[in-house]
């Protein structure tokens, strides 16, 4: 099983991970960061960087928790922990858009989509052979994928 590990001391707050996440999940059919619409709420990033209040940054990424609050709160069965891959997976078809996941996550990771019809959360870029786009985009190597 793989997880994204974070070393906040290395983070410069450049948000390259956010842009890479937006690019990896864009639904407008385009490709290449240059043509990504940075003002379209539909392209919102699944990770975010917040200041730590001491001059540094805290990258906030989905931890795909062992006991996920989000999946525990999901009544429709849209969110499930995959015991083989370790990922907390989301099935948009099953989602009732109740947003209890958004309410329950202690890290504040899940978000409401711009059209309010689905939730937005890290999917570990399972559609990309090379793995999570955010990790590849980090110039400081503050985030990395490790086998656990």
């Amino acid at each position: 099983m793989k997880r994204i590990f974070i070393d906040p001391s290395k983070c410069d707050g450049c948000k390259n991970c956010s842009v890479a996440c937006m690019e990896a999940h864009r639904r407008d059919g385009g490709s290449g960061v240059c043509t990504l619409d940075l003002t379209d709420p539909a392209n919102v990033s699944r990770n975010r960087i917040v200041t730590d209040g001491r001059g540094g940054y805290d990258p906030i990424f989905c931890r795909h928790c062992d006991v996920p609050d989000c999946a525990g709160a999901c009544m429709s069965g849209a969110l499930k922990k995959n015991q083989t891959t370790g990922l907390v997976e989301y099935d948009e078809e099953k989602c009732a858009a109740c947003f209890m996941c958004v309410m329950s996550c202690r890290y504040g990771v899940p978000a409401v989509s711009a059209d309010r019809k689905r939730m937005i959360k890290c999917d570990f870029c399972v559609h990309l052979e090379e793995g999570p786009a955010c990790v590849r985009a980090c110039p400081k190597k503050a985030i990395e994928v490790r086998e656990v």
Binding site: N16, V19, E23, V33, C34, D40, P41, V44, A114, A137
Partner: protein, 627 residues
Amino acid sequence: MNDCCNNCNTCPSADKPMEAYIRALPMETSHHRVAKQKTKCGFGLQGVCCRLCANGPCRITPDAPRGICGADADTIVARNFARAVAAGSGCYIHVVENTARQLRDTGLTRGKIRSEAALEKLAKTMGVAGEDKYDLAVKVAEKVLSDLYRPEYEPMELVEKLAYAPRVKRWKELNIMPGGAKGEVFQNIVKTSTNLSSDPVEMLVSCLRLGISTGLYGLQLTNLLNDVVLGDPEIRPAPVGMNVIDPDYINILITGHQHSLFTYIQDRLLDEEVVAKAKAAGAKGFKLVGCTCVGQDLQLRGAHYTEIFDGHAGNNYISEAVLACGAIDAVLSEFNCTLPGIEPICEELKIKQICLDVVAKKANAEYMPFHFESREADGDRIIDAIVTAYTERRGKVPMNLFRTHGNKNTLTGVSEGSLKKFLGGSWKPLIDLIAAGKIKGLAGVVGCSSVAYGHDTLTVALTKELIARDILVLTAGCSSGGLENVGLMTPEAAELAGPNLKAVCKELGIPPVLNFGPCLAIGRLEIVATEIAEELGVDLPQLPLVLSAAQWLEEQALADGAFGLALGLPLHLGVPPFITGSKVVTKILTEDMVGLTGGRVIVDGDARSAADTLEGIIEEKRKALNI
């Protein structure tokens, strides 16, 4: 110096032998650093990072569509873009200012005027008369300088004399006739500062005005003034690439854009007493080795400098490799594209760095100002420093020559004058070939060389696509350096052209890619276009002519591009100029510009699809002209 390099990746180059040479170097170059700079900032790429005030840097995201001050993506992008165009314009205006000063001083001191014909032609265009050629040179130069120094609110006098009348008419309708060129740069720096203009449309209109002043003065006039002092280009075959370097001489690598700054030194290096200094140090004499645009300019006029000039080694991103060969003893630089990356190499190989113009002061270089008034003393001091470097380094540093690189028969010296002469004194033969479809159209593949997405890879691939479609390619800038080193400017390259263009090339004995030399010569290409349009009685946007700055690199290229747009020409770029974060700016430059000037920007990083688009435009224009 760089222990890791045996394990380093270098970027691909269109010039495969050079790629292998650079990869094997024991020192780091730009080609090695590409991999480590691969991760680009998405906000920077789109032009939506603003650091104009201490509230910033602000970046635009879906959650934060405005900066703290309230500037949206359109304002931020337009401000960043207009600042870059202003800076690029400033660079070219600096070059023409120095060039005009050199001509004026040459006239005042009754110095060497190599082309009276060029002087008379220019004086006639400007409507200037003089008592003799020296007085005429002074008057011509002063006419240019007085325009450059006008305030921004006073129109420059020469614009209407230099530009094509139908264009001037359109520019007046659009209210983009430029005021004093330096004033225009100043105005735009002010306009784009913190909390001043927030109007993206107005800022883009300003860019067109900057484009006109840059193009007519920084590009066209710099060439025409230099022709007077340095001599007219003459078409001839010449060697290119690293094979031009002869280790038996004291070799001086020249980098920059201001050829006229070292004309005196260049001539002085052939004087008997100076050659004796070289001989006393153990060398056969002195040689200049060309690199970047100033090398291209010397190559263009190479017919007048066969003794001192060895040939052009390559473009800006070859300079590190050229120095690493060990046979260069000094670098004489007077402007950009003198890469900071040459400094550690010069230090390691004890190569003397000399800077002639403080705007291009390199950290390791000795600034040795060269003033026209004290040229004899200044020149000798510089030459002595070079001889000392030769004595101190030769025999102590390793040689890593690359004698097989490049070729010996690149066609050079093409200009608006020499090409017309070659065609028999008229553009009619070229127009006839275009009308008959033997040449489908013209493409100016111009501007820089870059490495982030491959060294000259897109430039070369696009050029091959264009010539295969019977489109004659004209080049100016570091694109020329890349294209000549891969052999596309040798007559044998005709084999790569489409059947019609190939037949034309074989009949005339020319390559399918014509080398106009430095980026400054983009101005010459535009003179060619204007003269052809004039002969046909049409406006520039009607011509089957496209421009591509496929691997544009610098702010200067954006100012050039703004001129291309003002002229109404389609302009292809391989990567967007940091504008895609703004829908307004992107739409104006890529779509709405057609309705304003006739020009437009086409962004495409793929050679084949870009060539498809450019060919489509050429075919449309042919159809509209009924040919």
